[in-house]
Each structure stands twice: as structure tokens, then as C-alpha cells.
């Protein structure tokens, strides 16, 4: 039995406009879209550009649109797509490098711009050479652990309606990561993080469409993270706040024990 793939092809250095090409691929049970694309590249058209690596939904390299929905090609089985040809296109909201490969440079720069790491102010030397572990309560871990599962595939940003109209919007991935570190009781970069997202094109431009959460292949809920981030920013910048904009994660989550335990 064969399945048909309609693949959107575009090489900006040669083509004036994108076009679709159809490939018939012999199918087998459990065959994924990525398996089919690799077959096309191996046997039918060596020129097809497709990015992939782990083939097990861990690396986030093979994000693309399958039948109009952003998905990881490696975990999307052809059998689950229903009858008819499967249409495969590059992700939206990113410039196309070639065929199914998009340029994720802006995506990673936005992620980096929000300091996706623990910021500690009091013990820089300790950070360089740790002498113990930083403990947290299970409830504190629960409050943000799902956001640590992000694999940076870009599917959330490709589905975000705000990201498609506002090029300065950090996007759901970066904002959810900003919340992940704000909620971490070990982090002391609250003020910097709040200032980075409390801007005209920052966290407030999310209109809670929720498409980011609907397409996340790891079950992360970035839309929830963004709403929690808004709540945190409101609390941190409130005129009634005791220490305006300077709350650390430990203060927000009332864990006086967050910190180094040797």
C-alpha cells in the first residue's frame, strides 16, 4: 500500500514562489511522516531539505506543519492522519531556509534574551564551583516543572497568532521559560526578568488564544505559563507590593530554605 505526500518546496535562492510536489511512498504500520520524508530523500528526490536528528521527539528538530497543524514529523504517524494525501509544509512565522527547513535564529535569540538560566546574585563564586545542592520543596518543583520539559522545537511560536503579527513579541516558548525561572525558588533574577517582559511588545501582548498549548508535543502548557507570568509581573509591580519589582522566587513562593545546602 502506498501513501501520498504533498510537500511544499521552496528554495529562496532559485524559486520565485513555493510549489507543491507529490510523492508516493510505500507505507508500513507505524510509519511516521519523518520516515516517509527520509524515504523520499533517499529514493525519490535527494534535493528535498528536511531537518531531523533524534527521531524520538526529544530533540525538537523536525517541527513542521502536517495537514495544516504544527507537529513533530517523527512522532506523527501516517496512519493517524486519515485517508488522502498528507500535506507537509514548513512551520509558519519563521523564514524558510529551504523546503521544510526554517531559520530558528530569531526563536533562539528571543529565548536567550530572557536569560534562561538561574541567576544568583549573592554567590557568584559558589556558582562557578558549587559545594552543595540547592534544595526546593516538591510543591515548588510542581509549580514549574512542566516548563522544563520544553524541547525548543518552535511549534508553539509557529502557531501563535500574536507572533505572526508582532515580530517583537518574544513568543510563547520564551515567555513560558521566563516564568519557569521566575517560579524557581533558587532564582534571584526576578527584577531583571520582570523588566524584560513588562514592555510594550512583551508578555501583555499574549491574547490567550491557547494554540501554543494545543500544539506542544511534550504536553507543556505555555499559555498557562504566560498567564502565571502576567500574575507574577502584576504582583511584582503593584504599588502595594512591599518590595516593588524585586521579589525573588524564594520570596514569591515563601520558601526561606531555598538556597545552598552543603
Amino acid at each position: 500500500m502506498e501513501v501520498s505526500l504533498r510537500v511544499k518546496r521552496f528554495d529562496p535562492s532559485v524559486d520565485v514562489a513555493p510549489h507543491y510536489e507529490r510523492y508516493d511512498v510505500p507505507s508500513r504500520e507505524g510509519m511516521t511522516v519523518l520516515d516517509a520524508l527520509i524515504y523520499v530523500k533517499d529514493r525519490l528526490d535527494h534535493g528535498l531539505a528536511v531537518r531531523f536528528s533524534c527521531r524520538m521527539a526529544s530533540c525538537g528538530s523536525c517541527g513542521m506543519k502536517v495537514n495544516g497543524k504544527p507537529r513533530l514529523a517523527c512522532e506523527t504517524q501516517l496512519g493517524d492522519l486519515g485517508p488522502g494525501a498528507a500535506t507537509v509544509e514548513p512551520m509558519d512565522n519563521f523564514p524558510v531556509v529551504r523546503d521544510l527547513v526554517v531559520d530558528l535564529e530569531s526563536f533562539f535569540s528571543r529565548h536567550t534574551s530572557l536569560s534562561p538560566r538561574l541567576l544568583r546574585k549573592r554567590d557568584e563564586a559558589e556558582q562557578e564551583s558549587p559545594s552543595g545542592e540547592y534544595l526546593m520543596f516538591p510543591a515548588e518543583l510542581e509549580s514549574m516543572v512542566q516548563f522544563t520539559y520544553c524541547i525548543k522545537c518552535g511549534l508553539c511560536s509557529s502557531s501563535c497568532p500574536t507572533a505572526s503579527t508582532d515580530g517583537s513579541f518574544p513568543g510563547p516558548q520564551a515567555l513560558a521559560q521566563a516564568y519557569r525561572y521566575l517560579a524557581d525558588p533558587r532564582d534571584e533574577g526576578g527584577k531583571e526578568r520582570v523588566e524584560a517582559v513588562d514592555t510594550a511588545h512583551g508578555v501583555w501582548r499574549c491574547h490567550f488564544a491557547g494554540t501554543c498549548s494545543a500544539v506542544c508535543p511534550k504536553g507543556v502548557d505555555p499559555a498557562l505559563g504566560i498567564q502565571l507570568l502576567k500574575r507574577h509581573v502584576m504582583a511584582a509591580t503593584s504599588p502595594l507590593s512591599r518590595k516593588k519589582g524585586e521579589k525573588t522566587g524564594a520570596e514569591v513562593f515563601k520558601n526561606p530554605n531555598a538556597g545552598l545546602v552543603g
Partner: protein, 116 residues
């Protein structure tokens, strides 16, 4: 002004607008027959009541602040240049304050009997 302050204003005015518009419709559109409520003399008499005039003034300020801040947000998402962002923020502030001033003038004139 921080964006969070403007969004706080947006949320507060949204809730206030729901309460004030409901109150206004209840007082002027439900408790009074519709045809009578919109007659010229009846409208003037509303302005001459201190409580009603104060309610109309607060309603004016709340709805203008909420509506124009919403328009500002839409315009900010339209384009992203720093000059556009700055221009939109200042432009919307000026128009909002101008309309608040003009509306307040109308309320004062009507409340003090200068419109007959």
C-alpha cells in the same frame, strides 16, 4: 509608564465600565420608559442631578481610558518600530485627554444649566 500599569488600568476600567454601564442603563433605560428617557428635556434633567452627572463623568473617563488604551494595544501590534511605539503611546494619550476634556466640558455645561 510601565506596560503593567497600563494593563492594570485596562483591567480596572473594564470591570468599572461593566458596572457603570449596567447602572446607567438600569437608571436611564429600564426604570424610565425608553421614549421618555431619550427626550431632550429628560436628558438635561439627568445632567442637573449631581449624582447622575457624577456617574456620567466617571463613565466618560472610564470608557475613554479603556477604549483608547485598547486601540493603543491594537496599533502597537500592527507595527513594531520604536518610533511607531512612541508615537502611538503619546498620540493616544493626547487624543484621550482631549476627548476627556471635551466630554467633561459638556457635562459641566449641562450640569450648570448653561445648556437649555
Amino acid at each position: 509608564m510601565r506596560e503593567s500599569s497600563l494593563m492594570r488600568l485596562q483591567y480596572v476600567t473594564a470591570v468599572a465600565a461593566i458596572v457603570l454601564v449596567s447602572l446607567h442603563l438600569l437608571m436611564q433605560g429600564v426604570l424610565v420608559p425608553y421614549g421618555e428617557a431619550v427626550s431632550f428635556q429628560r436628558v438635561l434633567s439627568v445632567y442637573r442631578s449631581a449624582v447622575d452627572a457624577a456617574l456620567l463623568e466617571v463613565l466618560l473617563l472610564v470608557v475613554l481610558a479603556h477604549g483608547f488604551n485598547g486601540l493603543r494595544i491594537i496599533l502597537l501590534e500592527w507595527r513594531q518600530e520604536a518610533a511607531w511605539t512612541r508615537g502611538v503611546n503619546w498620540g493616544v494619550l493626547v487624543v484621550t485627554l482631549a476627548l476627556m476634556g471635551y466630554g467633561t466640558r459638556t457635562v459641566i455645561l449641562a450640569a450648570t444649566g448653561q445648556v437649555t
